[in-house]
Amino acid sequence: MDIDLPIALILGQDGIINGAIYALLALAILLVFTVTRVLMIPQGEFVAFGALTMAALQAGQPARLVWLLAALAVAEAIADLIVLRTRRQGAQVTFSALLVKLAYPFVLAALLYNLPTATLPMPVQAMFTLAIIVPMGPQIYRLFFQPIASAPSLILLIAAIAVDVSLVGVSLFVFGPESASTAPFSEASFEFGSVNVSSQALWVVGSALALIVALWLFFSHTLHGKALRAAAVNRTGATLMGISPVFAGKASFLLATLLGALSGILIAPITPISFDSGFVISLKGFVGAIIGGLISYPLAAAGALAVGLIEAFAAFWASSYKEVIVFTLIIPFLLWRSLTRHTLEEEE
């Protein structure tokens, strides 16, 4: 099929928008993997959560997802109480911190069920969405991954799959089977020659760039960011500096959920999202991360952008094979990686 310039530009625009989102996810996946060795398969679920929660708030429905947050908080409190009872002084949990963590989701729920969420300004809706979703990251780490932190990678992978499947189930229960999209951040659109660029597209790409710069600043210029990198580079060394693996694990999950939920909020006005969209989105982030060899952040971001572009053009030429084409992409990179494998193992 022939492709002329305007079509190419439109496809390119789609590709860049999706690619920007995949890049954020690839970075999150890479961060979690290097710090905890967990392959963050549930990454895409937080995207779906972000989009669907935003849609629910805009439709004036109470965001029922807050009850998942509450359930996780209760489970975490029980786990912490057990630690508090069986362990010594010097355990990191204190009773008051535990109460605050336990109260938080219920205060949030009370607000959400009593405020007219549909009429709130969009930034406030976004804040609420993040307030519900982001704390789940550290909770999930605490409950499902911290207890098996030193288990073999295969066990961690199985746990990640189990968590993902459970989250999809919860998603169906909470949001129902219909897909949803949200209002764009603004209605404006711009003409660049023959191409019409929606302002939402600019929002997505601009926010993704801003987030990437913010992440870079965090990791290169703040002590906590450096501590997280240190934990990824050398776990024993980091532990000796008092950078506990638990702290690093929770922090990396926190950042990953933040990036996931933000991606969902950004993409929801452009792409309808349903409860089961997350997995495929995760996989595309993974393709990017794997292109980056699961170690290089810039390569992962570039790889994810390439995934977005290839996906857009594949959709035009052979739409039913779109996913197949994208995932087939991994194979040459895996081959290439396996040939240069020894360098990877040295990093471990």
Binding site: G90, L223, A227, A230, M241, G242, I243
Partner: protein, 253 residues
């Protein structure tokens, strides 16, 4: 008996097992508290359990027995808490952050203090650079590309960033040229003057006994001898087992 107030560190009857193998079988040792720091050394052959001992005290390995630090019993030592309380370990393998710069490696040594609310890392950094001027020249270099001696300096400097009261050094002279070894031992003595106590594990028994105040000899998981460092230096058994060979080698060299 209560945890004696005059002791900075006291270890009583420490046992550590790797599976069924007991690597430490009831080790006891102490470091006195004083206005000046104390240097206490633990010497012994390969596989005696020296690294195991330091790891257990630091909370990296589970152990049985009693560990008192700064007058408090640590029922289950936990690394973060030990660092917060002023203990620091420079491990045998250094464990630097290879992909990060020298300066970042050092700054991370102050992480625990930073979390506790102290904001004195810039001053600590200047002190470390004053102690190791060579690191100042190389502060932008990636730690993974440093020479062995420079790496050891970063490892020690990084530990000092936490402003420890007890610094545990696991074979700081391992694999270093004699000139660098002398430099490292000069620093160790300097640190004692500044009030830092040091638990020094060494194979280089001669150098260790030279700087130490008190010494223990550990063999296959148990302390077999202890005493003032100068007494051990002149003890015929120590000379034969740990110093004699060294003398011989030095003559050859």
């Amino acid at each position: 008996m209560n945890a004696s107030e005059e002791k900075l560190l006291e270890v009583r009857n420490l046992h550590v097992a790797y599976g069924k193998v007991e690597a430490l079988q009831g080790v006891s040792l102490a470091i006195a508290k004083g206005r000046m720091g104390q240097i206490v050394t633990v010497i012994g052959p390969n596989g005696a359990g020296k690294t195991t001992l330091l790891s257990a005290i630091m909370g990296l390995l589970p152990s049985r027995g009693e560990i008192f630090f700064a007058g408090e019993l640590e029922p289950v030592p936990e690394v973060g808490r030990m660092v917060r309380r002023g203990m620091n370990l420079v491990p045998e393998k250094r464990e630097l952050f290879a992909e990060m710069s020298v300066e970042d490696n050092l700054i991370l040594g102050a992480f625990q203090r930073y979390r506790q609310g102290y904001r004195d890392h810039d001053r600590s950094l200047r002190e470390v650079f004053a102690l190791f001027p060579r690191l100042l020249e190389r502060r932008r270099q990636r730690a993974g590309t440093l020479s062995g001696g420079e790496r050891q300096m970063v490892a020690i400097g990084r530990a000092l960033m936490a402003q420890p009261t007890l610094l545990m050094l696991d074979e700081p002279s391992l694999g270093l040229a004699p000139l660098v070894v002398r430099e490292i031992f000069r620093i160790i003595v300097e640190l004692r003057k500044r009030g830092v106590s040091i638990l020094l594990v060494e194979q280089n028994a001669r150098a260790a006994l030279q700087v130490a105040d008190y010494a223990y000899v550990i063999e296959t998981g148990g302390i077999v001898m202890e005493g003032q460092a100068e007494n051990l230096r002149n003890d015929p058994r120590v000379i034969e087992a740990y110093l004699g060979l060294g003398q011989h080698q030095e003559k050859l060299a």
